[in-house]
Every structure is written in C-alpha cells, then in structure tokens.
C-alpha cells in the first residue's frame, strides 16, 4: 500500500516533468555540453597515454559538478512551494498519504529525470569516443559507469536540498531564489573561498588538516574528487582536482553516499514544519 502510494506519486510527478519539458531540457543540456566537451577534450588530449574515454570522463566530471546540481535544483524547487500555492498540499494530506510518502514519490520521479539526463549526456560522449578511436575507448567504460552512478547520487542530494528550500520558502518564487543561492554557494563560492584560504594560508595548518575535510564535506567537491581520484586521468584535471591525490578515496565516496540520505532527512524535517 505504502509502496503503491509512492509509486503513483512518482508516476504523476514524472508525467508533470515530461509535460513541463524538464526531461527535454535536462537531456538537451547534458547532451549538448557533453558533446562540446568531448570534442574539445579529444583535440587537447590527443598525445596523452590515457585512453580517450577516460580523458572525456575527466572533462565530464568538471562539467557535471556544475550541471547536475543545477538541473536537480531546477526540477525540485517547486515541489512543495508549488503545492502550497496551488492549494493541493492541503488536499494531499487529507488523503491516506504521509508527508514522507509524498516526498519520496517526488524524489523518485525527479531522480529519474536526472538519471535520464546524465545517461543521455554521457552516452552521447561515449558514442563519440568510440566513433573517434574505436575499441580502445572500452578501457574508459569503468570510469564512465562510475561517473553515471556518482552523478545520480549527487543529483539525489541536490534534489532533496531543493525540496528543503521549497519547504523553507513555501512560495515558488522564494524557493527558486533559495535554490539558485544554494547552487552559487555550494558549487561556485565554496571552492573560491577554499582556494582563497589555501593561498592565504600558504601551506600552513589549514591546508594540511582542514582543507581536505572541507573538500570532502561538500557533496559537489566529493563528487569531483571521487571521480578524478578513481580514474587514471587525474593529470587532466585542473584546479582543486589536484588535491584528489592526497585524499583517501573512501572519504569522498562516503560523503557521496551519506549526503543523499542526510539531505532527504533534512528535507523531511523542514517539510514537517510546514503548517497548513
């Protein structure tokens, strides 16, 4: 019964995502940027020892750090605020449907949208790599698969964070603003802040003790470090990716696994405080 209610919620939410063209937008964004990146990356890395698909995965990692959280927040910010505004949340909660079931159904549908988008984007990049170099590209399939499932985990974390923003704002416009703010903070400003701190610290205690943890604690940075450290193409990475060498791989992996659960719990707590 509980599963059926989550399933029908997920179904109707996915239908809404299709009709609102979120699926189309997500797929188009991921495919377009993946193709551009792999075309550009193939030229630059032509003489490297690493196989071309692994190089592409390294470029795709840097792309996905920006795009996956953005897509996740775009499709999730309306989840609760929109229902509050339309007056349907009140109605839903008079049904034999719990807040957890409603949230899980929305999460499942929106995660499906993210999954379809990343598979389409990465798949397009993989096809391009195979067309360019033939069977040799198969060496990079492991790295590509890792990129897919870690992107899904990253997406799950940011969808639930989007739900949390949605429950906090209670109005779609406010929720959109909070979502964009979160994206800027977690994806752009966080790294800039760390870089500035590392430069100012000049190899001191911050750089050796605090900085590695600070990187792992942010799910987006954990995603980047995990994929770069796990692949052979670390050399192709730039910026903070260089730090990947010094961090044990279980740390970013644990961060990637824990964040979706933590974010879902935070979203549920915030949603529980929405009075109707």
């Amino acid at each position: 019964m509980m599963f059926a209610r989550i399933l029908t919620t997920a179904r109707i939410e996915f239908l809404i995502a299709l009709r609102n063209r979120w699926v189309g937008v997500g797929v188009a964004l991921m495919v377009l940027f993946s193709l551009v990146l792999s075309a550009a990356g193939a030229g630059a890395a032509g003489n490297l020892a690493a196989d071309p698909l692994s190089v592409t995965v390294a470029s795709l990692t840097s792309l996905s750090v920006y795009l996956v959280p953005l897509i996740a927040l775009l499709i999730s910010f309306d989840a609760i605020a929109g229902e509050v505004e339309r007056g349907t949340l009140q109605l839903h909660l008079t049904y034999p449907l719990s807040r957890s079931e409603l949230l899980l159904g929305k999460l499942a549908a929106q995660l499906a949208v993210v999954t379809i988008s990343v598979i389409a984007g990465y798949g397009a990049a993989a096809v391009l790599a195979f067309v360019a170099v033939g069977g040799e590209a198969a060496q990079g399939l492991g790295a590509l698969w890792r990129l897919v499932w870690s992107s899904v985990l990253l997406g799950a974390a940011f969808i639930s964070l989007g739900h949390m923003m949605s429950a906090m704002a209670r109005r779609p416009s406010g929720a959109a603003a909070l979502g964009i703010g979160l994206w800027l903070l977690a994806i752009v400003l966080y790294d800039l802040g760390l870089l500035a701190a590392v430069v100012a610290d000049n190899g001191g205690a911050f750089t050796t003790t605090v900085f590695p943890w600070a990187l792992v604690l942010n799910p987006a940075d954990a995603f980047r470090i995990f994929n770069l450290a796990a692949s052979d193409a670390t050399g192709a990475a730039s910026g903070l990716g260089g730090a990947a060498n010094t961090i044990a791989i279980w740390k970013p992996l644990a961060s990637l696994l824990v964040w979706p659960l933590l974010a879902a719990a935070l979203a549920r707590l915030t949603f529980g405080r929405v009075q109707i």
Partner: protein, 294 residues
C-alpha cells in the same frame, strides 16, 4: 458520523474557535456559515486532522481526525484547489484513485458523474473555473466517503452548475454520507441543507433549519405599493406608517400582522395601482443574526 464537542483553537491570544459543539449525522447536510475569518476553515482543518485543537474533542465515526481510518472515511473539497494544469482530468483523478487504493480505471465514471466526461482527456489548464471545481468534486466522490467536508464549494459557480452540484450532494446524503459544507452567503446554501450553523468570530451564534432561523430573526416583511394617479393623498391617509420615495410607498410589517395588512390593502384597492410584499431575504436574515451576535 461527526461529533465536535467544546472545540477551541487559539492562534496566539486570539481564539479562532471558541467552545464550538456540533454533530452531523449520517445522511445529514449541514452548512457552516460565517464571514471571512469567522472560523469556518479552522473548524474544517481540525476535522480533517490537518491541525490539532487546543481543547475539546472531535470524533469521526468514533475515530480521531487525521487517523488512518478517519482519512479513509473522509473526503475533502478545498476552496479553489488548482490542480496541476499540465495533467488531464483523467490522469489527475486516476492518481487520486490510486492514492485511495482504487483502480485508476474508475476515473472516467467519476468524471462522467460530475459532467466532465467529454473533457477527461483534456489538460486541466484548458478548463474553466467551474470545470476545475468539478474536478475537485470528482476526487471527493472517490470511494463513497462517509463524511464529506466541502470548503466554499459553490463560490464562483453559475446557478445551473450550483443546482447540479447540490443534486450530487442530495444523492450522496440519500446514500448516508454526512455532509459539512461552508459558505459565506445564506443565499448560496438556500434550502438545500438540513441544518445551518452560523459562526461569528469563532463562536457559534445560531443553529437550526432555515425556517427556524427565519422565525428566530423575527425580521418584518416589507410592503411596497404604487398609488393610482392622483390618489397619493388618499393612499397616504390609508397607510400613515408608509414612507414615500419617488411615488412609491413602503412600510415594514411584522410577520404576525400579515393578514391585517392584506385586508387593508384590499380595502384600499381603489387607490392602489400595484403592490408587493417581500419576505426578508436570506442575506437580510444572515446579516441580522451576525450583527446581533456582535
């Protein structure tokens, strides 16, 4: 089916509901009347288990509001619910059916029943306001509910739709569904309810059938008459209590004096061109009761 006893809900220092008791039996239609902010919505949210009371008890067929059994027995039509414009009527009702554990294939029959059979495959975004209200009603009909809570169900409906709407409620009541609906105008609920409860500032100020409210209010009838040409002075002599306004005479008449006034009108028929006797309108009665309470 529904029992409220000594229900109180406060928001800060202000009492949204103050010691309200009410019972709705199976098959009974009860209208909850009050101005905006009188406590109607608060009462409904309490009954639905969306919020909890500060004092008093609610039982839905013996179960606590918001409990699994109470939710399964209760249907709700929110005021101005806007269903997602991207979905079709059939998809939206199919979803609500599945949430109640029923096959989605029953959506078409439900939509047919509320007069949306032809629009089932169209997106809700293309529906008129009345059609959207019917989608709300269709979801409230799922699973033959024992208690139906309707928040301002007829506001914004045209008179024909409103009549059809009450027709569906009559059928439900005949099958034993207890119905609690709210409205801000007595003229909207008309004689289609068995009992009327009037709330004012969280307090229950009147309860009864429309006729008992009418006699309680004790409002006078209003008599208007047009004298024949040149008979103004004679008419004024025959009806000294009348007020003249642009050639029209009018005066109030207590319910008990109806016959006497009629006799006088007949006696004065030589001076009178035309006359009317108006009973107090429903809105007059409602305004009078609300004002008396305040």
């Amino acid at each position: 089916m529904l029992t409220l006893s000594r229900l109180t809900k406060r928001y800060g220092a202000q009492a949204a509901l103050d010691d309200v008791s009410l019972a709705v039996a199976a098959g009974e239609r009860v209208a909850l009347l009050g101005h905006n902010g009188a406590g109607k919505s608060t009462l409904m949210k309490l009954v639905l288990g969306l919020i909890s009371a500060d004092a008093g008890d609610i039982a839905i067929a013996g179960h606590a509001p918001g409990s699994a059994v109470a939710r399964a027995l209760t249907a709700y039509l929110p005021e101005n619910a806007a269903f997602h414009p991207a979905l079709t009527g059939r998809e939206q009702i199919g979803h609500f059916l599945r949430l109640r554990g029923e096959p989605a294939a029953r959506a078409d029959a439900l939509l047919e029943r509320v007069g949306l059979g032809d629009a089932a495959r169209r997106r809700i975004g293309t529906y008129s306001k009345g059609m959207r209200q019917r989608i709300g009603l269709a979801q409230a009909l799922i699973g033959a509910p024992r208690l139906m809570v309707l928040d301002e169900p007829t506001s914004g409906l045209d008179p024909v739709s409103r009549r059809e709407f009450y027709g569906i409620l009559d059928d439900l009541a005949a099958q034993g569904t207890a119905i609690l609906l709210s409205s801000h105008a007595l003229s909207e609920v008309e004689a289609r309810t068995d009992r009327i409860v009037i709330l004012s500032r969280g307090q229950q100020v009147a309860e009864g059938t429309l006729n008992s409210l009418r006699s309680d209010a004790g409002l006078p009838l209003m008599v208007t008459l047009h004298p024949l040409a040149g008979q103004d002075a004679a008419a004024a002599a025959a009806f000294p209590e009348a007020v003249q306004n642009g050639g029209v005479f009018s005066f109030p008449c207590p319910q008990t004096d109806k016959q006497a006034v009629l006799t006088r009108l007949v006696a004065a028929s030589g001076q009178i061109d035309d006359f009317d006797i108006h009973p107090p309108s429903l809105d007059d009665i409602y305004a009078h009761i609300s004002r008396r309470a305040a």
